[in-house]
């Protein structure tokens, strides 16, 4: 198997046991050197509000501002730091549209979610119709392996409005909410615990819009997990 990122051949270590006991070993898609260039976030040294990598567990400045502004519960956990190598990866995966690259993180991300979650429902943030037309895939669901998500949110944006990623920070924070609830029977989500899933937590604006929409529909708690922060 060739490494998805550097295209070199991956040398698989086959433990002796696998020769005796036939078991399906998962084939690696990314070599150890390449994986080593991404940096995981540790709980002990990250903001309890948004999962940002920093010196301590204290609430970071951005989160303190959010706390002053909103009156509902919302926290985010993240698996990786959104540093230069991760930005490059996201560029290739999401903006260049290299869908195969989902395999680089799909397994670890799904395991991370499964280990953290006590929620009733997992909800991947949706993409709008125009993104379906051009990108052809939802980058969040691409990153999920064997996890059951439900589609209860819709995303609608005016045709002439910029995407979140094309905006400056202050513009992003001012964006209006484009999420709508899409369920046949509202009872279905009443009083439920929801875990939102997204690829990147940048300002937290989009995720909080989704949370507000869900709280308005009667959900009990809404939290989120992102691949990076």
């Amino acid at each position: 198997m060739q490494c998805l990122l550097c295209h070199r051949q991956i040398r698989e270590a086959w433990p002796l046991g696998s020769l005796i006991l036939p078991q399906r070993k998962r084939i690696s898609t990314t070599c150890a050197e390449c994986l080593g260039t991404f940096h995981k976030i540790r709980l002990k040294t990250s903001c309890v509000g948004c999962g940002r990598h920093q010196g301590s567990k204290n609430l970071c400045q951005d989160c303190q501002k959010w706390q002053a502004k909103v009156n509902y519960h919302f926290v985010n956990h993240a698996l990786y730091q959104y540093d230069a190598t991760m930005k490059q990866y996201m560029h290739d995966y999401k903006f260049q549209g290299h869908y195969q690259l989902r395999h680089v993180f799909a397994r670890v991300f799904s395991q991370f979610i499964a280990a953290q979650s006590k929620a009733d429902y997992l909800v991947a943030l949706p993409i709008d119709d125009q993104t379906w037309q051009t990108r052809g895939f939802n980058q969040v669901t691409g990153l999920l392996e064997d996890l059951q998500t439900i589609e209860i949110l819709n995303m609608k944006r005016n045709a002439d409005e910029k995407r979140q990623s094309q905006k400056k920070r202050h513009e992003r924070l001012k964006t209006s909410n484009h999420f709508q609830i899409d369920v046949e029977c509202p009872e279905q989500i009443k009083d439920k615990q929801i875990l939102l899933l997204d690829d990147v937590y940048t300002t937290g604006r989009t995720l909080r819009h989704a949370a507000e929409t869900l709280y308005a529909a009667g959900c009990r708690t809404v939290e989120s997990i992102t691949l990076c922060r």
Binding site: Q96, G97, H98, Y99, Q100, G136, F137
Partner: protein
């Protein structure tokens, strides 16, 4: 400049599929790669091509748009305004190239580094423009395009030239002469009568075939492609052997001297010896030689990790020598290169990054571990080509130190010997032809 509106001008665009999908496989029509369906599938029954994604993604979500090339160009009184003179071999090559252009054939121009191949192109471009043909000059590297643009504009003062590369924001203009990166070429389908691709072998070897296919799609079926290179790869040489490609040689540098030939010294374990701070004999002799006549030098090593201990081993024996190391991500790279140009330092120990573009007149070059995988034969020929660029010192030493002769080392030696033989043949042929024949 105004952008051209195709609708207003009544030119028809044609919609074409980007990928062909059958029962089990998908075929990218841009780069000609086949895939098992499931591997390249997007949700909702769409497909994309990972093979040529570097050039912008091809998917079944879109179509290619193409237009019947109208060749609507205003006829100018003069195209070529350049008044320089070509050498006899440049002139001969340019005639051979024009012949291929006129017959819609593909052509390879094998020109050694420092032969003046750009000037040689002028007559061919001139004839093509006069005949109302659409011409494109493309290179894989942005900096080459940026350097070519002013030179071509100076040579064809009245011609409107479009420059296309990824870093620019100007909208696309329809022009008779275009300079573009090979990435940008992929926006064109059957558009050019003459397509010139510079530095074909700057493509990484594995991708070469794919990218060549993709880029040549930009030329009309009746058009011709001219490949320029100092170190042709297997793919092109095969086509020459199969007579699918005409070939011209520009084997002599503008100052008329042959390429310095490569000397090889075999040293086992140069790595561990140098690591143990023992300066290996051939390298010691090489540096001593340079020092005695006060000549600058470059020492190439395969990897960044070799730089510190090679520097230490050299500095131990030659404490008075002013030398330093440089690599691609070096923050002081530009300063160090400038210091070398200003003769403030005697030599640089470096990785492969200086192999193209950077010239220091009158240097000697040594490659430590020339048999390492990182050095392709093209890279080795380019490195050897750093030597003897100055008319003041058209010769020089090229020393390869390696444990054995790798395929790349052998090919580099052969290629240089081959062009030098060609240069001799040419000299002989020219001296036996009377001036009236040429």
């Amino acid at each position: 400049m105004k952008t051209r509106n195709w609708k207003d001008e009544g030119i028809k665009t044609i919609k074409m599929p980007t990928m062909a999908v059958n029962e089990s496989r998908v075929h990218c029509l841009r780069c000609n790669t086949w895939f098992v369906k499931s591997l390249v599938q997007l949700p909702r029954q769409e497909f994309y091509c990972p093979a040529c994604i570097q050039l912008g993604r091809v998917t079944t979500l879109e179509n290619f748009f193409t237009l019947k090339e109208p060749n609507q160009f205003k006829q100018l009184a003069h195209y070529l305004t350049w008044e320089g003179k070509l050498t006899e071999s440049q002139l001969r090559c340019s005639k051979e190239v024009i012949h291929s252009f006129n017959h819609g054939r593909d052509h390879l121009l094998w020109a050694v580094t420092g032969a003046g191949k750009t000037e040689m192109l002028f007559p061919g471009i001139n004839e093509a423009l006069q005949a109302g043909k659409r011409v494109c000059l493309a290179s894989p590297r942005v900096d080459v395009c940026l350097e070519l643009f002013p030179r071509l504009q100076a040579a064809f003062k009245q011609v409107d030239i479009a420059l296309l590369h990824g870093r620019q924001t100007e909208p696309y203009r329809y022009t008779q002469l275009t300079i573009a990166t090979t990435h940008q070429l992929l926006r064109f389908y059957h558009a050019f009568d003459v397509l010139i691709i510079d530095e074909v072998d700057a493509f990484p070897y594995a991708q070469n075939k794919k990218l060549l296919y993709a880029t040549t799609q930009a030329k009309k079926e009746t058009g011709s492609c001219l490949f320029l290179t100092a170190t042709p790869g297997e793919e092109l040489l095969k086509k020459v052997r199969q007579k699918q490609l005409a070939v011209s040689y520009l084997p002599r540098r503008f100052h008329g001297f042959p390429l310095p030939e490569i000397q090889v010294k075999l040293v086992l374990n140069w790595y561990s010896k140098m690591y143990a701070q023992k300066l290996i004999r051939p390298l010691k002799k090489f540096i001593k030689n340079c020092q005695e006549v006060n000549r600058q030098f470059l020492i190439f090593v395969p990897h960044i990790k070799h730089l510190p201990f090679v520097l230490k081993a050299v500095a131990k024996i030659f404490p008075s020598l002013k030398i330093t190391t440089v690599f691609s991500a070096d923050e002081q790279r530009l300063e160090k290169v400038q210091a070398m140009r200003n003769h403030e330092i005697d030599g640089l120990i470096t990785t492969t990054i200086l192999e193209r573009g950077v010239t220091f007149p009158g240097i000697d070059v040594c490659v430590l571990g020339a048999d390492d995988d990182t050095f392709s034969s093209a890279a080795l020929v380019q490195i050897a080509g750093r030597v003897g660029r100055s008319p003041k010192r058209p010769t020089g030493n090229v020393l390869f130190i390696c444990a054995g002769l790798s395929r790349s080392v052998k090919r580099a030696i052969q290629q240089i010997k081959f062009v030098n033989r060609k240069a001799k043949e040419e000299e002989h042929a020219m001296s036996s032809v009377s001036p009236s024949d040429t």
